[in-house]
């Protein structure tokens, strides 16, 4: 067994090295090779983690949450296995373990923080029994891959059944997430935003009904999508009493809030945008408190943390600001639109949607996004792009932007030039998964002055 393990690790490391030589960032091929040579590799390596293994799941925010959690543990002096590139299928997880293992098959790590795609949880839990599972939220996402939210819940249920000792850290404001805590009877910690933060229009219909009796849930207050302080009028299901209570939320000039656990309160003040980041930060902090059994130094971690590609990432091109944001589904887009419309400056807006398999080939959801909010005087120019630019133009026509008021191009460079040519003071680009990486490269290159004559 030991020989197989060592062979697998060597092969994986060699494959990582080779693919980097070729300029690729791939983690799936090396992980595949390792699992082929030693099918038990993940169990063997996970068994060497000295303290806890934490898995992070959820439709939106899992990369941010997992990366922050890992950084908080590292800043407390621990060695952590973390699949940082968002490589969240089984091969990516396997690859992350191999990278932290030495050539003799010894893993030197105190913790493992693993972001796992919901549909991959069953496969991953067959190898690894995590101590904690963090679930950020469960929204309608990429329907053609997962079918529907109920199917995603099913994956998580089946995964949890494989690992009876796993404790849960849950977004307590999300009824779809909370039901897993209720029905499994696991030890669960609920993280909730325990006050009304703002008026918010809704988006996405999933989960506004009781998971147990089907009655429409009622809300004392409501944050966004199905998140809020919910109660079922017909049965016992209601928002759980929070174990980690977020309060005093401020959304002006970044984010500020307080988080109370037991008799301790921590204050947060960060230069992030977007209310959803309150959940990402609160969940990662709560996870860190639970596994460390003390408060981590969160402020240093948070101020150092660089948002990933396209998480409200800012570029300056010829003195103009362009803010790039990844949004993959109605909940993500509605949140991004809130952030855009909270900026009162005159603005140009670009919407880009591709339909590659990793984006989800079904783009029907663009009709569930509240794009109606863009019909406002402050929106000066509208650019639609990506493979499904035509669908977006038609969607925007029904918002009230005629064909002649929009720039439509499937070419992303042209789209960026169209955005910069607008008369707004600031430009926002809201795009989905496979658009974001290409667009980031284009923006970086333009920022560096290579220029496209814009």
């Amino acid at each position: 067994m030991r020989i197989r393990l060592i062979l697998a690790i060597w092969a994986c490391k060699l494959a990582i090295f080779a693919s980097r030589l070729l300029g690729k960032n791939g983690s799936s091929m090396p992980g595949q090779v390792a699992l082929k040579i030693c099918p038990r590799i993940m169990t063997l390596l996970a068994g060497q983690v000295k303290q806890d293994i934490i898995v992070v799941c959820g439709t939106n925010g899992k990369t941010t949450t997992n990366t922050l959690l890992s950084a908080m543990l590292e800043s407390s002096g621990h060695r952590v296995v973390c699949n940082q590139l968002g490589a969240n299928m089984i091969w990516g997880v396997c690859c992350a373990f191999c990278e932290k293992t030495d050539l003799w098959g010894r893993l030197h790590a105190d913790f493992a923080c693993l972001e796992v795609d919901e549909a991959s949880t069953v496969k991953v839990f067959a190898h690894i029994k995590p101590d904690y599972m963090v679930i950020t939220n469960l929204f309608q996402d990429q329907l053609d891959r997962y079918g529907e939210v109920d199917l995603t819940v099913d994956f998580l249920r089946r995964a949890l059944a494989l690992s009876p000792e796993t404790k849960l850290v849950l977004n307590g404001d999300d009824p779809v997430v909370s039901q897993l805590g209720e029905e499994t009877g696991r030890v669960a910690y609920y993280v909730c935003v325990d006050e009304k933060v703002r008026e918010e229009s809704s988006g996405g219909s999933e989960g506004r009904f009781c998971s147990f009796c089907g009655s429409p849930l009622s809300y004392a207050y409501h944050h966004y999508s199905q998140l809020g302080n919910f109660t079922c009028p017909n049965c016992d299901f209601r928002r759980h009493e929070p174990d980690f209570r977020v309060h005093g939320v401020g959304l002006e000039n970044g984010l500020s809030f307080k988080l109370t656990h037991g008799d301790k309160t921590a204050a947060f003040d960060v230069d992030y945008r977007g209310f959803y980041n309150v959940y990402n930060i609160a969940l990662s902090y709560s996870g860190a408190v639970l596994v460390l059994d003390k408060a981590p130094d969160h402020q240093a971690v948070l101020s150092e943390y660089q948002p990933q590609t396209g998480r409200m990432e800012s570029f300056t091109i010829n003195g103009k600001t362009v803010i790039l944001n990844l949004a993959k589904n109605p909940a993500g887009f509605n949140q991004a639109l809130s952030t855009v419309m909270a900026d009162t400056r005159k603005k140009n807006v670009l919407i880009g949607v591709n339909d590659n398999p990793s984006d989800g080939q079904d783009i029907s959801w663009i009709w569930s996004v509240d794009f109606e909010r863009l019909s406002d005087e402050s929106v000066k120019n509208l650019v639609v792009t990506g493979y499904r630019a035509d669908d977006l133009m038609l969607r925007m026509k029904h918002v009230g932007f005629s064909e002649s008021q929009q720039v439509k191009t499937r070419d992303l460079k042209e789209a960026v030039c169209g955005l910069l040519a607008g008369e707004g003071e600031v430009s926002y680009a809201l795009v989905n998964y496979t658009v974001v990486f290409t667009m980031q490269e284009i923006l970086k290159e333009m920022e560096g002055g290579a220029g496209y004559g814009a």
């Binding site: 053609d144 219909s205 429409p216 079904d362 029907s364 009709w367 133009m393 038609l394 026509k397």
Partner: protein
Amino acid sequence: MERKKLIIGHLFPEFLNMYGDKGNILALQNRLLWRDIDAAVKTFGIDDEINFSALDIIVLGGGSDREQKLVCERLQRDRVALSEYVESGGVLLALCGAYPMLGKHFPLKNETLDGLSVLEIDTEPDAARHIGDVVIQSDLMGETGYIVGFENHSGKTRIGDYKPLGTVCRGFGNNGEDQSCGVIYKNLVGTYLHGPLLPKNPKLADYLLSKALLRKYGEEIALLPLCDQAENEAHDYIVERFLK
């Protein structure tokens, strides 16, 4: 002259709006308003009573299994009224799960419900799920043309002697065997094509609108031509990409 007006009944959008079904309501409503015909959208919740005779167009969309089950159980109560509405020429657009729901059996993931038997069509569950872009050829709108959309279902529906909405050029359609996709019966159109079907298929939208106007006012009412540039470009993009 009195302004014409159609009343669109959107049934249970709180349950059946999973795939952007709102697009169909927008298309019907705006295509009337752009022609100076009034449009009122009546939204029905699961506990609301439905007066079918007051409606000119009914739209039923798609939801999750859990939600579709609740809707099916709710509509059993109005089965006869819904049948009478269809028999009397009422316009009904049933998409996604609402399509097999109108037949004899309505299979869900773990169980099979009795359908509403508005149509003599029947559906059996299939082990595979059929997901992808669809292009069908239809002669519904006067001339032969394409209807484009997206399907995501695991049912196999057989429509017997009914006329299909069209023949499959790309995709799975009703059952993957006889090339048929969807069904037309009087002014009912049912299909697995889900979500925003009408925005990109303006001729189908206009077909439904003209049938509803004819039924309500008892005479052919010509629909003014609209600038359908955005509609046609979105439609043609799918045809070009998947057929050529």
